[in-house]
Amino acid sequence: MAMITADPKDVPQVASFTFTPEYMAKVQELIAHYPPGRQASAVIGVLDLAQRQQGWLPRVAMNEVARILDMAPIRVYEIATFYTMFQLKPKGKYLLQVCTTTPCWLRGSEAVMKACQHAADGEIFSVQEVECLGGCVNAPVVQINDDFYEDLDEASMNKVLDAFRRGETPKPGPQVDRQTSAPEGGLTTLKGE
């Protein structure tokens, strides 16, 4: 994925950004974690809150974060461009982060990726290729917003996507008959008393 290192021009212009009272309360709570005068330490969390409120991080939101934390705007831009989980361009309602690192790839992430790319329209779904999500025992894995959907193949991926499209929230976790990373089809050992 190409990284953004200059103020993107091809994004919708957002005129202004302010935290809603609910988010502002969370911001204040985060700032309170740090000693007075060290409020800048809260920057990553506050940026995340801004992204949750707006869906992505327009420049005005970064400026607002800089203002709240009394930092130079460039310091906030540096952080927002460093971490790939900050979205500097608008995304669809559901961000599909498809893991394509070796274990997932061996277990068929290419087909999952194809299904996601097919669904990605920029409004409901956006797709992103990511490095290892750390769910290798349940490969292939896709992170959809905050939840992991695991043990996918093309068919189950489409099922999950269809559910999202209908406005439902499918159950996160393994999409096969399996409890977390336990064996498929139920326990195979230690079945006795």
Partner: protein
């Protein structure tokens, strides 16, 4: 003090320094890109690797490693050499091979160090990365493909210049040094970024593709564009000044210079006076020296000395000023002044110099600015105050203009009334000043160049004495001059003699017809409309305000074209050297006055530069102490009196244009436009 062994040689070094600094003390050269003496340590270029025992069995970055007792440091082992070769190879992976078309070529750290550590061919066969160039304003040209991410520019902007506008966005291969939102840097010290950049990523825009470093003649000289007297190196090719670079002087400018000092030099090529002119029938007609002197002689012969006046300009060398003073004395005129702005400074030396010295700022622990905006008046000195602020435990307050000085300043008030309250101890800041060991009171021209200037000065003195700021070991009374000639002029006594007129008096006299002739020695900052019907002789190097009004123009030399003595704001006498010759028929200024004096029948007693300089010393012995800051005598000065309510205004409203040279400079005009654009965007 720790004892360390560097390459087998034992040396004792001060505690708390780094291994790299210890190696320098031992005379061992360590290659580096990101490390810089005056910036914080980054440790990201990895070029300074050395082996250290005891320590992990791998090379370590010496710039970020503190020395410890009994340490053994190896800088020349095969391991070190191989490690540095590796670092260099990595740096060159993405660095373009464009040295032949790069302005840094010939003075490039990467080029030099690649000679010692570079591999003779590339093992990298992928495409090099391509990075878009950035727009950083009219002075800094970028070529970001060449950037090796040492972050010196980011650290300079953040720490020294005090403008947090540069940063590194992205990461890994996508890392870029940028402002992210494209805009020019809002600092008066941007030119220093070019000096700091160890490669050709940031180069000088006005100097782009102008010359190669090895074809330039280098002359060490002194800057005259502000009152600081920065030490500079003038690089010339033939008669043309190609660029100005800073010289190291820890007592004055460290190693920075302002953008005006560095880039106003293109003004030396435009609007120059290269031959004498005489006004005939209302028009200035080209003339010979003989005709010009003839016209002056006809006019001045037999004129009463009291009807003749002289004003010395802001960039005059001491040699020409002493010649002017001697000529006026010979003509019997007491009407002479070097204070075009009307500053009420004429007391003992301690009353008009920056007594604490620029280096004194480092040891001040409470600073009060009176009527001064050091950021526009002397950006390098302002950076020094910022350095003091960053060091911590230094309260800074200001009475006068509101401005962003790049460090927090407590604003006490606007004018003399606030100063009165402070002096009477009615403001809280008085206690802070009182508690300080070394209080520093910086008096700007904005406080003294006004009607009630003498009263303000008297108040500032009262405050300094109340605070016990003037002692044997510390003199915290500091006048910040904005012009290079002022202290020299005051040292030489270019103030009205017995019954003489000052600048205001001369102009009033001209209007009333009481003054018949005025000699302007490169004086352009007066209201020339008020010269009335007086016969005006203008001697200077630029066709600016003074020359437009003149009846006779005598072409002089600019500061790069004559050897000259200048006294900076702290009273330090410094020698400027000639880097080239003045254009056309123009001559050195003291020599013009000497030649004219002969025609007037009042021949001055010196024929050579050496004789003029010994005359300087006989007038004031401070001129014998070159490069030293001679302490000023303290005594009563200023005049208690009523003050007005008018707020103090900085003497320099527009940093980029303050003198004939900078007004003629296109680069300075570009800077002004860029700054105006920036202000409008905010």
């Amino acid at each position: 003090m720790p004892k360390v062994k560097i390459d087998g040689v034992e040396i004792e070094v001060p505690a708390g320094i780094t291994v790299l600094q210890a190696c320098e003390l031992a005379g061992v050269e360590i290659p580096r890109f990101c490390y810089h003496e005056r910036l914080s340590i980054a440790g990201n270029c990895r070029m300074c690797l050395v082996e250290v025992k005891p320590g992990p069995p791998k090379p370590q970055a010496s710039c970020a490693l503190p020395v410890a007792d009994k340490q053994e440091i190896f800088t020349k082992t095969p391991v070190v050499q191989k490690a540095r070769n590796g670092v260099m190879e990595f740096l060159l992976i993405n660095h373009p091979l464009d040295c032949p078309i790069c302005d840094q070529g010939g003075e490039c750290d990467l080029q030099d160090q690649a000679m010692a550590y570079g591999f003779d061919r590339s093992r990298y066969h992928e495409n090099k990365r391509a990075v878009p160039d950035k727009e950083l304003g009219p002075l800094v040209k970028t070529s970001m493909n060449r950037c090796i991410h040492c972050t010196r520019c980011i650290r300079f902007a953040t720490e020294v210049a005090g403008v947090e506008e540069l940063g590194a966005t992205g990461r890994g291969e996508s890392m870029e040094v940028t402002t992210y939102v494209e805009h020019a840097l809002s600092t008066e010290l941007a030119g220093n970024l070019v000096d700091l950049c160890p490669v050709g990523a940031l180069t000088s825009k006005p100097y782009a593709f102008e010359a190669r470093s090895w074809e330039l003649t280098k002359t060490e000289s002194i800057d005259v564009l502000d009152g600081l007297g920065s030490n500079i190196r003038i690089d010339t090719r033939g008669a043309q000044v190609m660029r100005v670079l800073p010289r190291l002087n820890d007592d004055v400018n460290e190693e920075w210079i302002s953008d005006k000092t560095r880039h106003a030099i293109d003004g030396l090529r435009h609007q120059r006076l290269d031959r004498p002119y005489v006004r005939k029938a209302g028009k200035l007609i080209e003339a010979t020296w003989d005709e010009a002197f003839g016209a002056i002689t006809t006019k001045l012969k037999g004129m009463d000395g009291a009807k003749i006046a002289a004003i010395a300009g802001d960039q005059c060398d001491a040699e020409s000023m002493v010649a002017l003073k001697d000529l006026m004395t010979a003509l019997g005129s007491p009407n002479i002044d070097c204070r075009q702005d009307g500053a009420k400074l004429d007391g003992p030396r301690g009353s008009y110099i920056f007594n604490a010295g620029v280096h004194g700022i480092d040891s001040a622990d409470a600073i009060l600015l009176i009527g001064s905006n050091p950021r526009t008046e002397s950006p390098v000195l302002n950076a020094r105050i910022r350095k003091r602020y960053l060091h911590g435990r230094c309260a800074i307050a200001s009475i006068g203009p509101v401005a962003d000085l790049t460090y927090p300043v407590e604003r006490l008030g606007a004018g003399p009334a606030t100063l009165r309250e402070l002096t009477d101890g009615k403001l809280g800041f008085f206690e802070k000043l009182k508690a300080a060991k070394n209080p520093l009171i910086i008096v700007g021209m904005g406080a003294v160049a006004r009607e009630d200037g003498a009263a303000v000065l008297a108040m500032a003195r009262e405050l300094a004495e109340k605070l016990n700021a003037v002692r044997e070991d510390w003199n915290g009374f500091a006048v910040l001059h904005t012009t290079a000639a002022r202290v020299g002029g005051l040292d030489l006594g270019l103030v009205p003699g017995e019954g003489g007129r000052d600048v205001a008096g001369i102009l009033a006299g001209c209007e009333k017809g009481e003054i018949g002739a005025v000699y302007l020695l490169a004086a352009d900052e007066i209201d020339t409309k008020r010269l009335g019907k007086a016969f005006v002789i203008y001697q200077g190097h630029h066709g600016d305000a003074g020359a437009h009004r003149a009846d006779v123009i005598l072409p002089g030399a600019a500061y790069t074209e004559k050897p000259g003595t200048y006294v900076n704001t702290e009273g330090r006498v410094q020698l400027g050297r000639r880097a080239g010759y003045p254009p056309g028929d123009a001559r050195e200024d003291w020599a013009i006055l000497r030649a004219l004096s002969e025609r007037l029948g009042k021949t001055l007693s010196y024929d050579t530069l050496a004789q003029v300089r010994s005359r300087l010393v006989s007038v004031n012995k401070v001129f014998a102490a070159i490069d030293q800051q001679v302490p000023g005598a303290w005594g009563p000065f200023g005049k208690a009196g009523t003050t007005t309510d008018a707020a103090f205004v900085s003497a320099v409203a527009n940093f980029y244009m303050t003198c004939p040279i900078s007004r003629a400079s296109r680069t300075m005009a570009d800077c002004m436009a860029s700054r105006a654009h920036l202000m409008a965007a905010e």
